[in-house]
């Protein structure tokens, strides 16, 4: 098991130069997630347009290289998706990270394949999943509130 598999250049690049880092004014979705075992703390901000698409997404907080780079890559991937598409993708990611799916279906050149190494470090899967599950919770809450508003 090589450290390069976990800390590859893509991971380190996103860790040191995070995309879409920072808070957002008046987001449609704001969701905070914690990783109790290591103290990671992340907040995802999403702007949902009138068509139910993610038109803006940012993240703030602090954490290890794995959780931060995963969050950075996630924000790039989620922009432009409908909430349904986002949820579907999140569940695919979860399967891949927990070993129930194959990263190769993403295609060889997909940046997210850089997270493949995490599957060999069970203690770190939670770090890689944090941003995704936090967004998922945020989408669920957004839907719940939407329903509440309609009644």
């Amino acid at each position: 098991m090589s450290l390069d598999e976990l800390y590859g250049e893509i991971i380190l690049d996103h860790y040191k130069n995070p995309r879409n880092a920072g808070e957002m004014e008046d987001p449609s979705i704001k969701s905070q997630g914690f990783n109790q075992s290591c103290g990671d703390d992340i907040t995802i901000f999403v702007r949902v347009d009138e068509n139910g698409r993610i038109s803006g997404i940012r993240f703030s907080g602090h954490g290890c290289a794995i959780s931060q780079s995963s969050a950075s890559m996630m924000t790039e991937r989620m922009r432009g998706k409908t909430l349904e598409e986002a949820e579907e993708f999140i569940s695919r990611m979860r399967k891949m990270l927990t070993g129930g799916g194959d990263f190769s279906e993403l295609g060889e050149y997909d940046e997210l394949s850089a997270l493949r190494g995490v599957t060999k470090f069970p203690m770190r899967v939670k770090c890689a999943s944090l941003a995704w599950t936090t967004l998922e919770t945020g989408i669920e809450e957004f839907r719940g509130e939407g329903r509440a508003n309609r009644t």
Binding site: L3, L6, L12, C38, H62, G63, C64, A65, F121
Partner: protein, 407 residues
């Protein structure tokens, strides 16, 4: 002088490999490894004498009871408690402190009463007081941690008032290694009419401790941090105070006479040991105390001072690495590395077989005080060698290399 290489032969786990490298176990602050003598004592009990204690008239019950109560005497001797009756077996330090917070706290705390704690407490000496303070309307006050990681003893006097009912503090910090002047603080607390509880989870395993000399009212520690098994801990309390306290948990063993609608309670310490206790765990703890006695607690402390001094010097030589805490300390070194999160450090070190802890160490308020979200922590015990410090340092250099690859 303690020879860690000789000691290592008593610990089977230390000969295993991790990720193809010899295990370098540097997390004894979390839990220590166990010598064969402890494992054998527990095995012998379960294979030859297993029975419930204080219940049967038969031979096995007598042997089990004697072994269990003998450990109580060993504990009392080990911490210089004046009598066995002040030694209560609990699950761990956390349960011991909860026992005091619930049994003593609920009977003695009233609205407006004050409890003084410190900013460097482990959550186990913070949350139990938050819980009982909320219930009783009591107020928590905190001694600050100074920039060098120590307490300002003089601040105790400014916080103590005629409403202060208890001062609770950690003997040795599990993050900074700070050795707090508990004897001096006990004196001031008593002068103000307050009780004092000392969390000794990181002191009893690592240095000679004398609860009579400290003159603390309560003292808590865990067996698994001193070569014993998990699931056994100790609360020492001054017998007079324990006697006056209501029970903690109700059930078997802690009673004298039971009617359908009322009961009278057993004498201390059994009044606080409801239900079948962890007999095997207590016997394991007894064997751990025998082991530490044979090594000598003065020797244990001297060895840790040597190892810690070497570690401090070596870590401070690494550029971009910051060490937290004072010069004089227990065998604990918390640090941060520029550009590398503690969790990543721990994963990279693990690839070299070096096991350290990363995170908030159950001390979130202290992390906030240090202005960090987490630290990496290496901690040492009797089986750690100077060459293991060299492995740690080499592995930390690798962390820097990994994170330097991309700018």
């Amino acid at each position: 002088m303690l020879d860690p290489h000789r000691i290592r032969t008593d610990f089977p786990i230390l000969s295993r490999e991790v990720n193809g490298k010899p295990l370098v176990y540097l997390d004894s602050t979390a839990t220590t490894q166990k010598p064969t003598a402890v494992l054998e004592a527990m095995r012998k009990y379960y294979e030859r004498s297993n029975a419930n204690v204080h219940r049967g008239a038969y031979t096995l019950a007598q042997e089990a009871t004697e072994a269990y109560e003998e450990t109580r005497s060993k504990v009392a001797r080990f911490i210089h408690a004046p009598s066995d009756s002040g030694v209560i077996f609990t699950r761990n330090t956390t349960e011991a402190i909860n026992l005091v917070a619930q049994a003593w706290g609920r009977a003695n705390l009233h609205a407006g009463d004050e409890i003084i704690l410190t900013e460097m407490e482990h959550h186990s000496n913070l949350i139990p007081w938050q819980m009982v303070a909320r219930e009783r309307g009591a107020v928590l006050k905190f001694l600050h941690v100074m920039d060098d990681g120590t307490l300002d003893v003089g601040e105790v006097d400014t916080l103590l008032s005629d409403r202060t009912k208890l001062v609770g503090l950690v003997h040795v910090s599990n993050v900074l290694g700070t050795i707090n002047p508990v004897k001096e603080i006990a004196k001031r607390a008593h002068a103000a009419g307050a009780r004092i509880l000392v969390d000794g989870a990181q002191s009893v395993p690592h240095m000679p401790v004398d609860v009579k000399d400290i003159d603390c009212d309560f003292f808590a520690f865990s067996g698994h941090k001193m070569l014993g098994p998990t699931g056994i801990g100790v609360l020492y309390g001054k017998p007079k105070i324990l006697d006056a306290m209501p029970p903690f948990l109700g059930g078997g063993e802690m009673i004298r006479e039971v009617q359908l609608d009322w009961s009278t309670y057993n004498d201390i310490p059994w009044k606080f040991e409801a239900g079948t206790p962890n007999i095997g765990g207590a016997i394991g703890l007894g064997a751990a105390i025998d082991y530490l006695d044979a090594v000598g607690m003065g020797e244990v402390r001297a060895h840790e001072e040597r190892i810690t001094a070497k570690a401090l010097a070596a870590l401070r030589d690494i550029e971009g690495l910051e060490v937290f805490g004072p010069e004089v300390r227990g065998g604990v070194v918390s640090f941060a590395m520029r550009g590398a999160h503690p969790h990543d450090i721990a994963t990279i070190l693990d690839q070299d077989g070096v096991e350290i802890r990363a995170g908030h160490h159950c001390a979130q308020p202290l992390m906030r005080r240090l202005n960090v979200v987490a630290t990496a922590r290496a901690s040492f015990y009797i089986y750690n060698t100077e060459s293991e410090i060299e492995v740690l340092v080499e592995s930390l250099k690798k962390v820097k290399e990994v994170f330097a690859r991309v700018s």
